[in-house]
């Protein structure tokens, strides 16, 4: 969440009672909630600049985005239930893992209107009376240490997540969005996660960090053959840098979670930041597949 927004709340009530799956598990099984026609729909959205190869890439990516959003709704459901039940420990445990699904698809959510401010605004990003979403509950859980009176915020959060799922179904993705989205995900890391500013109270920034990188990697994977056709060296370099960044993050992973940002030393933060820049630089050249 980066920009300033101020929008009235819109409530859409959908019901769902899905079970939460753990942090760091990007490979979690997809739910049966995926609408079968979802993938098919996207294939009709061919833009002038695309090619059959890029259309296929977009369709694959769209399918993955829908899967992630399903998991996001499910995890948000579990999280908000814990908040409403007043179970602070259970809610804290589910907070970061649930957010990771959103962090992986953040550029898509941002393209769909106000989901980013609704779901992901930090205190001060929006006028106080409009502040809602994950970070508001983060403050309650870690800072205020009480979730009393947060039921409405929790309900709203789940509704917002569900509405995102609805919108994602028909989102229009063009090749330029993919190419810039990958770099945007890494820029998100550079500007707030690597500085520890995203998760002020929970300090779970490394989960967001990993999720943003996974989201960028997913985009690269669907574009990889197009990049390789145009510039094999570039494709090889990006692949290598993703591996190196994974290796740089690996020491901080514990089971399905990551260590707290506050446990990192300054040299460790610097190393992660520089590994990220090493990846973002070649990744920013993926636009080469779009021609001049």
């Amino acid at each position: 969440m980066r920009k300033q927004w101020g929008y009235p709340l819109t409530a859409i009530a959908l019901s769902s009672s899905l079970v939460f799956t753990g942090c760091g598990s990007s490979e979690s099984k997809t739910t049966s909630e995926v609408k079968p026609e979802a993938a098919a729909q996207t294939e009709q959205k061919t833009h002038a600049a695309t090619t059959p190869e890029l259309d296929a890439a977009i369709a694959n990516y769209h399918k993955w985005v829908i899967e992630q959003t399903d998991l996001f709704v499910k995890a948000t459901d579990g999280f908000t239930q814990a908040v409403k039940a007043g179970d602070i420990e259970a809610a804290k445990k589910q907070y970061a893992p649930a957010r990771m699904y959103f962090e992986r698809i953040e550029p898509i959510a941002e393209s769909l209107g106000d989901f980013d401010p609704w779901l992901d605004a930090r205190e001060g990003d929006v006028p106080a009376e409009e502040w809602r979403g994950y970070h508001r509950l983060e403050k309650a859980l870690w800072e205020t240490k009480s979730v009393a009176g947060q039921e409405k915020i929790a309900d709203q959060l789940l509704q917002d997540a569900k509405q995102l799922r609805v919108k994602v179904e028909s989102v229009e993705i063009d090749p330029l969005m993919l190419v810039t989205g990958a770099v945007e995900l890494l820029n998100e890391v550079s500007s707030s996660k690597v500085t520890g500013e995203e998760e002020r109270y929970s300090h779970t920034d490394l989960c967001d960090f990993a999720a943003n990188v996974q989201g960028a990697n997913e985009i690269f994977k669907v574009l990889q053959s197009s990049v390789a056709n145009k510039d094999p060296e570039l494709a090889k370099e990006i692949e290598l840098r993703f591996q190196e960044l994974d290796q740089a993050l690996a020491p901080y992973q514990k089971e399905q979670d990551y260590v707290l940002y506050t446990e990192l030393t300054e040299p460790e933060v610097k190393k992660l930041s520089q590994a990220l820049d090493a990846l973002a630089e070649p990744l920013s050249k993926m636009g080469t597949i779009l021609g001049g």
């Binding site: 190419v179 920013s284 050249k285 080469t288 001049g292």
Partner: protein, 423 residues
């Protein structure tokens, strides 16, 4: 220094003569002091990159020696050390090849490479030097001792003079501002031109090397002092009065350029750079009396003359005593110690720095980015610094907080690349 190359020939010639008279035939020549002017002639039989300083504001990148060493000092510096993240020598070679091409273009006032006409791609050059003159840009590369560890199989190639810098008395060295696998010194007569070059080199390095430290520095600009007199450091004193005339080939060979007597053949045309980040206790200095300040340096502040004399370039005559029999220039003054009995010389090329305010103390965070070049630091910089560190009165007002020693590679010929004699 800078444009003095063209304008102050007369004055330098006079100094030159004095100097040569004092030197005659000694192996290592001596002098404290930083940055007097050099003539822009080649120092060796073959033309060197640094030799072309007189051709407008463009200093060619290619040559027998790297530019930025005996080149007359430009107004600004941007300096950085990089640590390699790759462990492949092929990657290192590629990095230096890319850096060489980019440097040759940038020093000629061109963008880092031709732009690709694709609006979906980031621009190839970062753009802040578009339309700017080359401004005597030089880019100088060196290798730290850590470069010769086990990673690249070059352990046996490490030059003997590239030792680990010893710990000197009262050093407070911060590893974050010290050493590094590679050092890059960028100098130019314009701060934005210098910054642009360093930024683009760092960008090219991404994926192969990361910034380890970076520091910018300045001196009075040439336009503020068209006469090109000796610049002053931030303590207000002239710094570099006794710097050797590096444009004199014989002198440069004796003082600056690596010699096969102690260096491997791949270093022919190279040199060794010592870097010290010296924090100045500005506030404390400002409270000391003029008498104290002058006694600390061993020179008069206004004229730069040795204590008791009137001309900046007058002989020190360290033996002179006052009426009570005390030496006029204290034996522990900066100038007396750095003189090293006239037997050890280094080529100083230092810049002042200011990093704004020290957030902890609210004081000014400023000092000297000391840079010197020498043929064998074991016999030149290190013994000199040992002597200064042990007794210099100036130590009350300064702290060495960063340190590095680097083997500056020989120059490259067009078609070759910096480091090709080693890699």
């Amino acid at each position: 220094m800078n444009r003095q190359t063209e304008t102050s020939e007369k004055k330098l010639t006079r100094r030159d003569v004095l100097k040569m008279a004092g030197i005659g035939g000694i192996g290592l020549l001596v002098g404290a002091g930083g940055m007097k002017t050099f003539f822009p002639q080649p120092t060796q039989a073959e033309p060197s990159a640094s030799a072309a300083a007189s051709k407008g504001d463009y200093i060619p990148f290619y040559g027998k020696n790297q530019a930025g060493i005996i080149t007359p000092m430009q107004d600004f510096i941007s300096m950085a050390a990089f640590n390699l993240t790759t462990s492949s020598l092929a990657d290192v070679r590629k990095l230096f090849q890319s850096w060489t091409l980019a440097s040759a273009r940038m020093t000629a006032g061109q963008p880092v490479d031709d732009e690709i006409e694709n609006p979906h791609l980031p621009p190839v050059d970062t753009g802040e030097s578009i339309g700017l003159a080359p401004m005597k840009l030089t880019i100088t590369f060196g290798l730290g001792a850590s470069f010769f560890d086990d990673r690249f199989g070059l352990k046996s190639k490490k030059p003997a003079p590239l030792v680990d810098m010893p710990r000197f008395n009262s050093d407070e060295i911060n590893p974050d501002w010290s050493e590094g696998d590679i050092v890059v010194q960028v100098c130019a007569d314009d701060p934005q031109v210098a910054f642009h070059a360093m930024r683009n080199l760092a960008r090219i390095a991404r994926g192969k090397a990361v910034l380890h430290w970076m520091q910018e520095g300045f001196q009075r600009t040439a336009s503020a002092d068209p006469s090109g007199s000796t610049p002053r450091n931030l303590l207000g004193f002239k710094d570099g009065t006794n710097n050797p005339i590096a444009s004199e080939p014989k002198l440069a060979d004796e003082i600056v350029w690596a010699n096969s007597a102690e260096s491997p053949s791949w270093m022919t045309g190279g040199t060794y750079m010592a870097m010290r980040r010296i924090r100045m206790r500005i506030e404390v200095w400002d409270r000391s009396s003029l008498e104290d300040q002058e006694a600390t340096f061993g020179r008069h502040r206004h004229s730069g003359a040795p204590i008791g004399k009137s001309g900046e370039f007058d002989d020190l005559e360290l033996g002179r005593k006052d009426s009570t029999g005390k030496p006029l220039i204290a034996p522990n003054s900066h100038v007396a110690l750095a003189h090293m009995d006239g037997k050890v010389k280094i080529l100083r090329r230092s810049y002042s720095y200011s990093n704004g305010m020290d957030v902890k103390t609210g004081q000014i965070n400023a000092g000297l980015l000391f840079i010197c070049f020498n043929r064998d630091p074991r016999k030149q910089f290190i013994p000199m610094q040992q002597k200064l560190a042990s007794a210099d009165r100036l130590n009350e007002y300064i702290t060495h907080v960063g340190s590095g020693l680097y083997a500056c590679l020989p120059g490259a010929r067009e078609g070759g690349y910096i480091g090709d004699t080693l890699f």
